[in-house]
Symmetry: C2
């Protein structure tokens, strides 16, 4: 066999998802792209703010020696400072730029964090439903992901998390606003989680890190603010990216930020920089680092996503689907009218609607619709969902 | 302990290098940056070609839907095609764009390749001296690097490579032009290596991949051309980057290219794309992908490096150092006048010259000077090397 056995197994196991994507692509080829409503991809459809192009051109025209050369592996000092300054306000904690590392998006940040903290066989706990890549990210670095089953409303099941923690637990990853559910964990739940991890770290005699994966932090609606994690737990790390808030997903720019009062702060921060280097990232893309240093606090027009959410949510409710109105991100996660969500998503394909089964996120019995698509797709889908609802709901 | 034991050990073991860098930084702080000749960093000092800024501005101004969004994980199809087209000429083999994956530089490419092919305990062979990161890259994915001791002239020791190959050997990495020696392996040696790997693959009953790490391919002097690897061995993969040839080191843009006739071509190419995704790279930075699609064949002014090489080489020879004139890359690798190269590099620090001991590259008894620095540094160093030569050579 040409490829590593594990990679082959992984690819085999996820082949059903790939097959679905291929079937979707075949539908588009057969009927035309505009005859298929594709809700599968979390690729932001809202254009980057004008400031992105303006600042990029400015940076390119500015005289600078070796503008595109290597910088320290952690990133440009001015970028780290800009982010630390912004986070200080957001997290209500004085953030140390020495604990900030620029990364290849939040996906890069999570790999760097896990590489730096996991010993072989260590466990990483995450509540379901969750971004399926977490499985691979933990495995990449010798760890094992332990998923907590979903509960009503996809809130944090603190009891189950507490019961799952053991001497091998290195970290808990939370993702709020959540992909795929769109749920934002409440300030109270976050505080309770901090309390739980403080107690469990003491009980287990090891630091259990809280990793907060927050690429959707700025995409929240109805005036909501995502509760910060730094005030509730010292041994915490933020993984974030500008993929969604500045629509820069393909540019791979994000960061990690370590709590300034984390145990062994300097050693851990150095470990992150080392991991960023040896994993082959070396540093986050330089031009984008310079860009985001200037765009702290700038965000895409979130009202566009809110409107898309409202229209699709309303349409699904009227069609008879059962779902809660998510407070953030750009996903709806309705209950599948059929017990088997994979079967239901196949049924949807017959109506030329493409979705992802909740099973793909450890959330069986649901399906995910990414509404970061153009309005036409949403509008075209509404009568179809009505028809589907009549038959299945 | 806050960080993973292995990471802590790695950092501890390389702490002497870090300490040297810190001592160098202290010297600069004490005497002023322009009073220290720093030859430690492989950060290209030649400005990117004007076409880089021109094309970037054009791309930024071009209307395009979701210009910075996700593209296929392998990269933009037009970029993959442009590279395949260029490689076809360079490698004298018709290259399939399906075997090209855009990566975060050559470092990203090597990690993606090793992730996709290594089973636990697999060995990766490389001739010394070599880029020290190879150790980490192999280890990241459960492999073990096996270094072949250096021979006279730093040529390929085919006998030793053949003797080192066993049933656990998954790949051989070559780096030509070489960091740190600047050596370019001859066409004859490359052909012999291809022949050896063909025979050994048959003998061991497994494919042994040839991985050619070629970020310095375009930086060759005196009219030399680096011999292509595709004509000599089917199961080969190129790892390359635009870091050096376009002075884009900080932008993290490179690619891997699989030989079109490699065994299980499609499975392996898919494995690379999968590895690129799950390692958290997701895709190479999008804007830079668009850029390099338009700059195939464009290279920094190589004559600038050639001139720097000539001046520093000549100065070292006149000072009494023993070294060969490298044909490529931007490093000189003279023999250390003291048996202990680490001790000699410490001596150089007293003269405010910063170098890296050959021991850091598995090339003890030598030291590396990166001449990708400004002319002033080189000129200032010449009388100092003369003084050092008088004392030590």
């Amino acid at each position: 066999m040409a490829i590593a056995k594990k990679i082959s197994d992984f690819m085999e196991r996820s082949s059903w998802i790939r097959k679905m994507f291929e079937e979707g692509a075949a539908l588009k080829a057969q009927y035309g792209v505009d005859q298929v409503c594709d809700f599968t991809l979390g690729n932001p459809d809202v254009a980057a703010p004008n400031a992105v192009a303006e600042e990029l051109v400015k940076i390119i025209h500015e005289p600078a020696h070796l503008k595109h050369g290597y910088m320290p592996n952690a990133g440009y000092p001015e970028t780290l400072s800009a982010i630390a300054g912004f986070l200080e306000n957001e997290q209500q904690v004085a953030v140390n730029p020495q604990g900030v590392v620029m990364t290849s998006g939040a996906g890069g940040a999570l790999n760097v964090i896990l590489k730096a903290i996991l010993n072989p066989g260590d466990e990483v706990i995450t509540p379901s439903p969750f971004f399926v890549e977490y499985n691979f990210y933990a495995d990449n670095h010798g760890g094992v992901l332990r998923a907590i089953p979903p509960i009503e409303g996809f809130a944090l099941d603190l009891e189950a998390i507490g019961a799952a923690i053991n001497k091998k637990t290195a970290a808990v990853i939370i993702n709020s606003p959540n992909n795929p559910s769109g749920v934002v964990f409440s300030a109270e739940q976050i505080a309770d989680l901090g309390q739980l991890l403080t107690e469990k770290s003491a009980e287990m005699g090891r630091v259990i890190y809280l990793i907060s994966d927050e690429p959707y932090r700025k995409l929240v609606y109805d005036g909501l603010v995502v509760p910060p994690i730094f005030p509730v737990y010292r041994n915490s790390v933020i993984a974030n990216s500008y993929s969604k808030e500045l629509s820069l997903a393909g540019e791979r720019i994000g960061f990690l930020a370590l709590h300034p009062d984390a145990d062994d702060f300097t050693q851990l921060a150095n470990g992150f920089v080392f991991a960023n280097r040896v994993l082959g990232f070396v540093n986050a893309p330089g031009l984008m680092q310079r860009l985001v240093a200037r765009l702290q606090g700038v965000t895409v027009d979130v009202s566009i996503y809110q409107r898309k959410r409202d229209i699709l949510y309303q349409g699904l409710v009227e069609a008879g689907f059962k779902l809660s109105k998510p407070q953030g991100a750009f996903y709806l996660f309705p209950r599948s009218p059929l017990a088997d969500d994979v079967e239901f998503v196949r049924e949807l394909q017959h109506y030329r609607i493409l979705a992802v089964p909740g099973s793909g996120f450890s959330g069986p019995g649901f399906f995910r619709l990414a509404y970061c698509v153009d309005d036409t797709t949403i509008e075209r889908s509404l009568p179809i969902f009505k028809e589907v609802g009549k038959k299945f709901c």
